[in-house]
Amino acid sequence: MEPRPRSFYVLTAFFVVFLIFLYGPTLTIGILSFQGPGGGLTFPMRGVSLHWFRDLFEQQAVGDIWGSFSRSLVLGLMVMITTVVVSVMGGLAFRKRFAGSALLFYLIIASLVIPSILISLGVGLIWSQSGLPVHWSTSGFGAQLTWTLPFGLLIMFAVFNRFDKSFEEAARDLGASPWQVIRHVVLPIIAPSLIGVALFGFTLSYDEFARTLLTAGSYNTLPLEIFGMTTNVTTPVLFALGTLTTVFSLLVIGVFLLVAWLMNRKRARAGSDAGKGMV
C-alpha cells in the first residue's frame, strides 16, 4: 500500500473531533445523570448515586413518564409497520410509470421539506373544525407518517434502482404468477433493506416532536413530556430520563443492526455457488 498522505492525518484528527462533537454532550448528560442527591445540572459531581433514576420510577413528581413512554412505544410500532407496508407498495408502484406518478413523487418530496409545524397546525385545524378529538393514535399517527413515509420511499427507490430484473424474468419464464414473483423473489431480495425502513419508521416516530405537538391531544407522547419537563424541572432527573431514553434508542438500533447483519450472513451462506467451480 502506498504511504498515507499528510491530509489523511489531518482529516483523521478532524473526524475524531467531529465524533466527540457528536457524542460528547450526550455522554456528558449520561455521566451527570448519576449525580448525588445534592447535585445540580452541571459539574462538579456531588457524589455518585442512582438517586435521579430512582426518582423516575417513583409515583411521580414530574408527570406521567411511563404512560407517555408506553404511548410512544405503541405509536412507534404502529408507524413502523405502516411505513414498511406502504413504502414497499409505493416502491413497487413507482417501478413503472403510471398516470399521476410524477405528481405523487413531488408530493413525497414536499412532505419531506414542508416545515413540520405546518403539518401539526393543519392537521390540528382539520380535526378541531370537524369536531373530532385529536388523539395520538389517529391525528398524531397520520401526522407522523408524513415524515416517516418519504424516508421509507427514498430507501425503496434506492433499492429498486439497483434491483436486477433478470431474477424476476427468470421466475416468470418458469411460470410464476405476478404475486408469486413478488412473494418468492422480490420480497426476499429486498428484505434486508426493509429492516432499514422499519428502523427509520420506528425511531423517527419515537423521537418526533413538532408533528405531534398539536395532534397528540391530551395524552402526551414521550418527546412532548420531556419538552414539558424542560420548562419546569431543574434537577438532574431530566438527564436521567434523557439517558434512559437514549439507551433505549441505542438498544433498538442495535437490535435492528443485529437482525440486518444476521440476515446478510445467512444469505451469504445460503447464496448461490455459481462461478465457484464446484461441479
Binding site: 500500500m1 491530509s7 489523511f8 482529516l11 483523521t12 473526524f15 467531529f18 457528536l22 454532550p25 450526550t26 456528558t28 448528560i29 452541571t42 459539574f43 407496508v85 406502504v86 409505493g90 413497487l92 408502484a93 413507482f94 413503472k96 403510471f98 398516470a99 399521476g100 405523487l104 413523487f105 408530493l107 418530496i109 414536499a110 421539506v113 414542508i114 416545515p115 405546518l118 403539518i119 397546525l121 393543519g122 385545524l125 382539520i126 373544525q129 397520520g142 407518517l145 413515509l149 427514498l154 427507490f157 427509520f200 425511531t203 423517527l204 423521537d207 416532536f209 413538532a210 418527546p223 420531556i226 431530566l238 434523557g242 431514553t245 437514549t246 434508542s249 441505542l250 438500533i253 443492526l257
Partner: protein
C-alpha cells in the same frame, strides 16, 4: 398498458391517501384559515386580508424573516464544510468497506436518537457554570464566564450544526462512493495536485450530493421552531417561532397566514434547488 396504470394506482393508493389526508388537506386548510377572523377565544370563517396586512406591515415580520434566512445560511455553510470533510474522509481515506460502513454508522446513529435530548445535553456544557466556561477560566483565557455561550444565536447555530450535519454527510458520501477511482488516478497521473483534483474532479462530481444535502438542511432549519426556542431561551425568533406563538395564543388565522408565507418561501427556495438535481436518479 392500461392494466399497468390500474396496478400502479392500487399499489400507490395507501400512500396517496395518507398524503392527501395529512399533507394536502392540512395545507389547504391552513390556506383557507389564513383568511379567517379570530376573537380572543374562537375563530370564525370569513374572507379577510387582515392577517396578511398585519403580517406584511409589521417590522417584526421582516426582522424575523431575516433571522430565519440568517440561521439557514450560517448553518448551511458550517454543515457543508464539516459534512464534506467527513464524507471525503470516509470515501477516499478509509480503505476497507467494513471500516467505511462502521464509521458511517457511527455518524448516523445520533440522528436516530431524540433531538430534544440532544439539545438538552448542551446545557451542562454551555451554561454559565458549565464545562466550557470553567475550562476557559481555569486555563486563564477568560476571567468572567462568557454569557453568550448558552441562550444566544451562537448556541442556536451550534445546535443546528450538531443536529443536521448528518444530512450533508449522507448524500455527499453517497455520491462520492460512486466516483470512479480511476478518474482520480488519471488526474494524479496528469500531474494534478491534491487540491486541483479536489477542485476540478471531486467537487464537480459531488455537486448533486451537495444539492440534496442543502435541500435537507435548508428545509429543516427554515421550518424549525423548537431548536430556536430552546437554545435561545426564547430570546430569538424565526418564522416557526412566530407561528408557534400565535398558536399558543389560539390565534390560528394569524398563525396560518405566517405559515402560508413560510411555506411559499420554503417551496420557492427548494424548487429552485431541485432544478439543479434529479433526485430519483441520484438514489
Amino acid at each position: 398498458m392500461r392494466n399497468n396504470s390500474v396496478i400502479g394506482w392500487l399499489l400507490a393508493a395507501p400512500l396517496s391517501l395518507v398524503l392527501l389526508v395529512f399533507l394536502v388537506l392540512p395545507i389547504a386548510m391552513i390556506f383557507v384559515v389564513s383568511f379567517w377572523g379570530a376573537t380572543e377565544w374562537s375563530i370564525y370563517p370569513a374572507i379577510l386580508l387582515d392577517n396578511y396586512e398585519f403580517l406584511l406591515t409589521s417590522d417584526v415580520t421582516y426582522r424575523v424573516f431575516f433571522n430565519t434566512f440568517k440561521y439557514a445560511a450560517i448553518t448551511w455553510a458550517f454543515t457543508l464544510l464539516i459534512g464534506f470533510a467527513v464524507a471525503y474522509y470516509l470515501a477516499f481515506h478509509i480503505r476497507s468497506l467494513t471500516w467505511q460502513i462502521a464509521l458511517f454508522l457511527l455518524c448516523t446513529i445520533p440522528f436516530l436518537t431524540s433531538n430534544i435530548i440532544r439539545m438538552i445535553s448542551w446545557i451542562p456544557f454551555l451554561g454559565r457554570n458549565g464545562i466550557a466556561n470553567s475550562t476557559l477560566i481555569s486555563m486563564g483565557v477568560i476571567d468572567e464566564p462568557l454569557e453568550w455561550l448558552l441562550f444566544s444565536d451562537f448556541s442556536v447555530i451550534l445546535a443546528f450544526v450538531h443536529l443536521y450535519t448528518l444530512f450533508m454527510v449522507v448524500p455527499i458520501f453517497n455520491t462520492m462512493m460512486r466516483i470512479d477511482k480511476s478518474l482520480i488516478e488519471a488526474a494524479a497521473d496528469s500531474g494534478a495536485t491534491g487540491w486541483q483534483t479536489l477542485r476540478h474532479v471531486i467537487i464537480p462530481l459531488t455537486k448533486s450530493g451537495i444539492m440534496i444535502g442543502t435541500i435537507f438542511v435548508v428545509a429543516l432549519v427554515m421550518g424549525d421552531f423548537i431548536t430556536v426556542r430552546f437554545m435561545s431561551g426564547s430570546q430569538s425568533a424565526n418564522m416557526g417561532r412566530l407561528i408557534q406563538n400565535d398558536i399558543a395564543l389560539l390565534q390560528y388565522p394569524s398563525a396560518s397566514a405566517t405559515a402560508v408565507i413560510l411555506l411559499i418561501t420554503v417551496l420557492l427556495l427548494i424548487g429552485t434547488l431541485l432544478r439543479f438535481v434529479d433526485i430519483r436518479k441520484e438514489l
